[in-house]
């Protein structure tokens, strides 16, 4: 923009004229100690817990501790410029994030500031990051499925819109991949996705964002990023701001999927803040309210009643375990808050079973009501078959000594496990899932080599889509399949297998 000197002078004159002469009244305090992202402030007698205060240079802080002689403030940003004796101003406001449709496709920090180098977002609507969860009476049942596109999840641990399903497992077991696949699969399903990265490497976040962009998922996704280099305070508020943005969309009656990746790092960040604020440490040095830290966050994920718009927030929190120990402090806490968990195992992952879901320990407490009826019909026996297979697996090495029945069960189990294997970023629709599992139940893969299963699975689905399109419609429209439908499917699949056998 080029301005002439006269224009600048006019602007200045106008600006000076329009200065109001009212004396400003502000409540201030003084920094008495600062360090590690925490400031102790003297004064600010009327400040509220959770209120935003402004340091010099307009750096924000959030009041966490109210004590007799001072208040404890977490600094939300760079704290190197804050010195002893600096003034701290009250704002009278609680921490809020700007909410707008324009956030879709963007990467923001927990304060709602864009960090993807594109233009800033201006919004008049602000949502407080800490908000009470919907009341009992305002909630509705979880009854609509949220497809993840992952066969093992949709069939065994189905997730409904408004549910909280924990993804738990050791490092490098594919936890994030499940979440990303789920986001990718929401394309065209009218679900807004929010991916909250807590304490992750900036390079990982960049990679995830790029992957989402490549798959065309950024159109309906917002990434809230607090990287490993951000102060603990930013990591602490990240999931709450993600949730606040989710609530904005939920209030408009939309369905939201929010991934918290991951809550163990969130708990560690909160532990850091709490210890610096000299709150008494408890088990594993976590503060006493670490349960409340996660429960108040996950309780905000809900399906609200139609009278309130009928929107929902589905939460997929991720928790990392150490050496598969789900009985440690944070995993047990989050397991008890959520409506089920997807447990990933390193051993399965190394065996090539990916997603490495352990069907024995993974559960979904409410998702069953939200599962596609046809998928429920075909997957009913899946869990038992897999459980039996796991039991017999130990004997598989003595296969020659086993009776035919046991050998059959072992083969079926092995093929079922193979059917549930899925590559990264390749989610499949519910129709294909039903056909795959049904055809596996029919035993068509029992004679096949493992490498050929995926191709055959695809071929079978193509045949069924051309011959039984109306059944696929029924599946998609959440209708139950009748015995006739199953017979017709059976005929198509067996017919194809016979013709294929003849060709060979």
């Amino acid at each position: 923009m080029y301005l002439k000197p006269e224009e600048i002078s006019n602007i200045l004159k106008e600006k000076i004229k329009s200065f109001n002469f009212n004396m400003e009244k502000e409540e201030v305090g003084t920094v008495i100690q600062v360090g590690d992202g925490i400031a102790l402030v003297y004064g600010l007698e009327n400040v509220m817990a959770g209120e935003i205060v402004l340091f010099e240079n307009d750096i924000k802080g959030s009041v966490l501790n109210l004590e007799e002689h001072h208040v404890g403030v977490v600094i939300l940003g760079e704290y190197k410029d804050i010195k002893e004796g600096s003034l701290v101003k009250r704002t009278g406001q609680v921490l809020s994030v700007p909410c707008s449709e324009k956030l879709l496709g963007r990467v923001i920090n927990p304060l709602g500031e864009v960090i993807d180098g594109k233009e800033a977002i201006v919004s008049n609507i602000y949502y407080p990051i800490e908000k009470e969860a919907p009341k009992i009476i305002d909630r509705d049942f979880v009854r609509t499925p949220l497809e993840t596109g992952i066969k093992a999840i949709d069939a065994l641990v189905p997730i409904g819109r408004g549910q909280r399903e924990l993804i738990v497992g050791d490092r490098q077991t594919g936890k994030t991949s499940i979440a990303i696949d789920t986001i990718i699969h929401q394309k065209g399903k009218d679900v807004i996705c929010i991916y909250v990265a807590i304490g992750q490497k900036a390079s990982s976040i960049a990679q995830i964002t790029r992957e989402l962009e490549t798959e065309g998922a950024m159109d309906y996704t917002i990434v809230v990023a607090a990287t490993a280099s951000d102060p603990a305070s930013m990591l602490y508020i990240a999931p709450y701001s993600g949730c606040a943005i989710g609530e904005y969309f939920m209030d408009q009656g939309k369905d939201v999927l929010i991934v918290y990746d991951d809550l163990s790092k969130h708990a560690v960040a909160y532990r850091e803040i709490s210890l610096l604020l000299r709150r008494p440490p408890g088990r594993e040095a976590y503060p006493g309210d670490v349960f409340y830290l996660h429960s108040r966050l996950l309780e905000r994920a809900s399906k609200v009643a139609p009278s309130l718009g009928g929107g929902s927030i589905t939460a997929l929190p991720i928790v990392e375990t150490q050496a598969g120990d789900i009985s440690s402090y944070i995993p047990t806490n989050v397991i008890s808050i959520t409506d089920g968990q997807i447990f990933l195992e390193t051993d399965l992952f190394n065996e090539g079973i990916r997603p490495a879901i352990n069907p024995g320990v993974s559960v979904s407490r409410v998702g069953g009501n939200a599962q596609f009826p046809a998928l429920k019909q075909v997957a009913a026996s899946l869990r038992i078959d897999l459980a039996q297979y796991r039991e017999l697996e130990a004997f598989s090495q003595f296969s020659s000594d086993l009776d035919i029945e046991t050998r059959k069960k072992l083969i079926r189990g092995e093929k079922l496990v193979n059917i549930l294997i899925q590559p990264n970023y390749k989610p499949v629709g519910v129709e294909q899932q039903v056909i795959s599992i049904y055809s596996a139940n029919l035993g068509i893969y029992d004679e096949q080599e493992t490498e050929e299963i995926q191709n055959l699975e695809k071929e079978v689905f193509d045949v069924v889509s051309s011959k039984n399109a109306e059944i696929l419609n029924k599946i998609r429209n959440k209708e139950k399949l009748s015995p006739e439908d199953f017979n017709s499917l059976k005929d198509t699949i067996n017919g194809y297998m016979e013709s294929k056998a003849q060709e060979e």
Binding site: L12, K15, I16, F19, F21, N22, M23, E24, K25, E26, E27, V28, G29, I32, G43, L44, E45, E68, H69
Partner: protein, 181 residues
């Protein structure tokens, strides 16, 4: 911080005793006089902070000073108690005077504050200004005046954590921010 918290508790008790016996003003003046001596006299500081001098000698000196100086019974007892409980150090007289004065101001409904102006004022003018501000705000005030030419024009008034501000310097800073966008 912890030392201030401890002294605050002791001086609160002294204030309550003084209030009950109607000697608040006297004790306040005594404490302030003692605080002045302790803050202004460097030799006294060296004596009281020296690790080479036994604490009994320090205690005896203070006791004698208080006795001979004609201090009231409560003030003497107050310092004796602090010494008995091993709470006395060089800063105690000053902290006692400050905290006692705070209790006094609070009991009188007087608020402490700071006023910064870009104009030099004499004591009469300051008193008049304090009086006017006090009338406007509806409470008694004890203002500390500071001359600061950087304000250019206007006022900066701080009363117990509340700042009333309108000066040219602040407006220029605002203008600068606005111009920078």
């Amino acid at each position: 911080m912890s030392s201030l918290a401890v002294i605050e508790r002791y001086s609160r008790s002294l204030f309550q005793v003084a209030e009950a016996n109607d000697t608040v003003e006297d004790i306040k003046n005594e404490l302030q006089a003692l605080a002045k001596v302790f803050t202004e006299d460097d030799k006294l500081k060296t004596f009281f902070t020296s690790p080479g001098i036994k604490s009994e000698i320090k205690a005896n000196l203070l006791k004698e000073t208080l006795d001979k100086g004609g201090f009231s019974r409560y003030t003497i007892n107050y310092f004796n108690l602090l010494m008995e409980n091993n709470r006395f150090d060089f800063n105690v007289p000053y902290l006692s005077a400050v905290t006692f004065n705070n209790f006094y101001l609070k009991s009188q409904g007087i608020k402490k504050g700071k006023i910064i102006l870009a104009k030099e004022l004499n004591e009469i003018e300051i008193a008049k200004l304090t009086q006017e501000i006090s009338e406007k705000l509806g409470f008694k005030l004890e203002l500390k005046y500071q001359y600061e030419p950087e304000l250019i024009d206007g006022i900066y008034l701080e009363i117990e954590g509340v700042v009333y501000e309108d000066n040219l310097n602040k407006r220029l800073v605002k203008l600068e921010k606005w111009l920078k966008g």
